[in-house]
Symmetry: C2
Subunit: 344 residues, 2 copies
């Protein structure tokens, strides 16, 4: 195997972080003249080219874009995969690329899958999804200076090209809808603090309530895995309180938790929509067929697929990125699980 | 573009169909000694090699397997894509291959997508799904002598390697379950006769009833698109008849039609499960959360993914296929939408 000059060596020589090297060499950021000069000198010293340039010079581009995703748990739905992949495959083919779909493997084996595809020159770049905090794939790809675009953000301050759905905005629109119906005690079936998407969404919950002058009681927020059983059991707990204190509306951070909430309300003999409003997030295809149909938030999946490929192709073609971060708005879909509150 | 000797020319010279040429050259079928000799002589005359052999001789194998699928309609679910692709991607990678996912395009454009990937040596073989009668992709691939395995069968008599789910067996198990609960008037929300999968399933419906000595009345079978609205409207028609003549059980050929049926029964004020039993097919993840939870048929998607890749890799490695047709059994999942009939 040939010795590989990594960004890290260039960065150490230039006395900057490897993220900065990556950004400067890809024209993604402006730094001081001196710093930029130091970086280019270090790169020349080691004869370092960002991989995509080196590879296109050698005409060894595969015109393949690697993509791998976290599979849905058994018995659960993957609400975006079909449309997301169709959108990416079409955008890629129109730009002369094709998608290489490689399997998810648990833990570090997954990162190794990315590494193998890089080392074998199998792909020109990657699209990442299910991006989390401290995502090891991002560390690897930035260290290798390998092109990628992420569907989703990661740690605050980490700099990489991304397209994301504005989960906070989606959640704010849910809160505003519930407020407009007269709800004031609005509970949340939220995700653990370790969930990056969960943190985006809960920001919208807090800011939406704050705007209306409401401070949520700590007991209105329960955090757990986004599964049916958690929605069912947590909602039973919400409903234990006295009628003038318990929540009148419950926001599920996904549709599956919201379905658990619907069933808990119905098991208690209450009416969903009038007695207790329930909302979801994701707008699964089947959520329109629930009893009652679920108010939820629909994500612009097709648009995300188009934009991640558009960004990645720009990077692969060596063009500078004018806008390396795209944030798309989701859309609230109002159905019968939310109704004007009946005062009594 | 180089002149391409096609199977068709070899077949014309040998005086047999191109399907026969393909099968004989791939060791997939035994014909008479004379016929086999005639085919090999014709192949030698034109210096014809089945593509996969020619390409492996030239060491130009891409180790990519092409896959494209029909996307779900907006607002509908794709019940198998996630698991099917994960399964194929894993099996392929374990065998030294990777999946190339290319976009669905309407009509003949889709077939052209397959042709382009063949002509550019982009893939070594294909996996097909959503196989229909007179499938133009199969005609193309057999004519080109290009390796593929289909998830699904096509015209009776068409010979190609396939893995399929035994839809007739799944439907028979649904009928037997309903019969065991006391149902005799069992209606079907079926697909048009042009649907290959629909024909497999309805065979099971007929044979299951026939075994119990029941001839279904013509008005018990309605055919249409597998959508919610068709299930809803057709079930309303089923329920118009007098109580001692109308169906007591309704079989949806997929879950979405069954959900329409559930809502039609409930709108009429009847109770699903006791007054009218409803069943689906596919076992969508959300079907367990319906009111009432839906009895359905679960498909062995993971297993299909493993087997299609196993077959294709055998073909790509030049090995003879011992078993070129795999038929896997689906599994009935019984829930509260079917209950013992209450005689009254």
């Amino acid at each position: 195997m040939s010795q590989r000059i990594t960004l890290k060596q260039v960065a150490a020589q230039a006395g900057v972080s490897y993220q900065t090297v990556s950004k400067v060499l890809n024209g993604q950021v402006r730094v001081s003249k001196q710093t930029e000069q130091r970086i280019w000198e270090a790169a020349r010293l080691f004869d370092y080219h960002p991989n995509q340039l080196a590879r296109s010079l050698r005409s060894q581009r595969s015109h393949l874009i690697g993509y791998s995703w976290v599979p849905a748990a058994p018995g659960e739905d993957n609400p975006i995969l079909d449309q997301f992949m169709q959108s990416m495959a079409l955008a890629a083919e129109n730009a002369g690329y094709q998608l290489l779909a490689f399997p998810h493997r648990p833990g570090t084996l997954w990162t190794e899958g990315y590494r193998t595809l890089i080392e074998t020159n199998r792909v020109d770049g990657f699209v990442l999804s299910s991006v989390e905090y401290n995502d090891a794939r991002i560390v690897l790809l930035q260290e290798q200076g390998f092109p990628f675009v992420a569907f989703g953000r990661s740690n605050p301050g980490w700099e990489f090209p991304s397209v994301d759905i504005d989960g906070a905005a989606g959640m704010r629109s849910i809160v505003e809808h519930l407020l407009s119906l007269g709800h004031r005690r609005i509970a949340a079936l939220a995700w653990p603090e370790s969930s990056r998407v969960g943190q985006n969404r809960i920001e919208g919950y807090f800011s939406g309530l704050e705007y209306a002058g409401i401070t949520p009681a700590p007991e209105w927020i329960l955090r757990g895995e986004g599964i049916y059983l958690f929605g069912l059991e947590s909602t039973s707990r919400f409903l234990e309180g006295p009628a003038d204190q318990r929540p009148t509306a419950i926001i599920g951070f996904n549709d599956v938790m919201a379905i658990g909430a619907i069933h808990a309300v119905q098991q208690k003999g209450y009416h969903v929509g009038t007695d207790v409003a329930i909302t979801g997030f994701d707008d699964l295809p089947m959520s329109q067929y629930l009893t009652p149909p679920l108010t939820s938030v629909s994500q612009p999946t097709w648009e995300v697929g188009q934009r991640v490929i558009e960004l990645l192709v720009k990077i692969l073609n060596g063009g500078p990125l004018i806008q390396a971060h795209v944030l798309l708005s989701p859309q609230i879909i109002i159905r019968q699980s939310t109704n004007p509150i009946v005062m009594g």
